[in-house]
Symmetry: none
Subunit: 129 residues, 4 copies
DNA sequence: GTGGTCTAGACCACG
DNA sequence: GTGGTCTAGACCACC
């Protein structure tokens, strides 16, 4: 697992890390027993400060998703995946098709993002946070 | 246009306002010449401080999207023009269908969000920001 | 770099700060990689409020000239590169000579300013802004 | 005399009007006895609100430069010109030559402006307000 | 100790 | 009544 920090997004770095771990769990890329990258690895690959990584891992531990084992690393305790991998793959493929069409219709990523958010916000015609 | 601020998202309130205006422009809900709600209206409807709204509006002005006219309001200057409304509507409908299926397969909103982000990030297997 | 705020000029303090940074870039006193004074330094040396400084620095950041790095300061990102320092020095010397003559002819600073502005406005006979 | 208002300069509109009248006096374009444009004319030609023009004229009257005569207009009372027109013309010509050179050396208007201001600020190496 | 966010409230410029 | 400026001060995120 590799982290990517977007300095200009306005979202605090430690929350971006937490979010990316949660997403990996959601998507089944990480599951119970897997080891997270060491703090040192994250520092090296993403450029954030070690304290920032520690804060993210601590937050994940507090929410019960991971477990730090002294001397051996941080491990995933619980999954967040809610669906069968095959179903996920099918949904993913169909979504990828939709994205391709949207792009062909001339929408750029920000357009697509806006559309997705507005649909998820439930057709109320108001985009959220 | 109505704003919604999510105090728990970690994203600064003024950035949420900026983002919502940009999304409205993307989706065609706002176009050149339209007037944004007055600062006072936003304060009344969303509960944020007036300066927070001013900061968001100023940021939009600096990026050339809107124009403040003293004494008369803040107006949209340029669109973030996406696509033909009909095409948008069709894409939206198909996306809504996909979301329905995903929900029926047991995915919750956070699952769907993670899936969308990972597809938009383009098959690289890393969710972003 | 030291800032000077003229409270009686009618120009908002934050715009004076922005302008002075831009001028320093124009004149080559600041270049890529240089660090701006910290917000606290500016507050101490110029007496303006910290938020006023932050607003100026943020405006510079939005226009792509500087970059704020949390915990370490605000740094110049791009130059507003003008000309070769030697050419600048020569032009400056000749201008200084002209100013001396103008003063000897009895013009005060406001006269000189008016004359410069009218010449820069390009023989149209109308001074601007 | 024609006024030009720059909405984006940050300087209040009424101060821009005051300044332009003062500059016209400095440069000898206006002299004692000349009539300023009527408020209505200024409104028509510059687009500002009538109250804004009135405020500017009132300010000029308070500083003793002009005089409002009920029913006939606003007239210049005192000059601000400090030098002989011929001397002014000579200085202006030499300055225009300098500006031409600066432009040929690749400086744009903002560069020139920065240089002029820094020289006027007296060689101290700090540009002012 | 760095920059950044937000609040509350006074006051100004403009229509 | 519109947007804009500035202040004072509390608190947060990050190094």
């Amino acid at each position: 697992m590799e982290f990517r920090i977007d300095r200009s997004s306005g979202l605090p770095a430690y929350l971006q890390l937490v979010r990316q771990v949660r997403e990996a769990l959601r998507l089944g890329w990480l599951g119970p027993g897997d080891r997270l990258p060491t703090v040192r690895d994250v520092v090296a690959s993403s450029g954030v400060n070690a304290n920032t990584v520690l804060k993210a891992y601590r937050e994940l531990e507090l929410s019960g998703l991971v477990e730090a084992r002294q001397g051996s690393g941080t491990f995933v305790k619980a999954g967040l995946g809610s669906a069968d991998p095959e179903v996920m793959a099918a949904l993913r493929a169909r979504l990828a098709g939709w994205v391709r069409e949207a792009r062909e219709a001339g929408l750029d990523t920000e357009d697509i993002d806006a559309l997705v958010r507005s649909v998820l916000a439930n057709g109320e015609g108001v985009a959220v946070a």
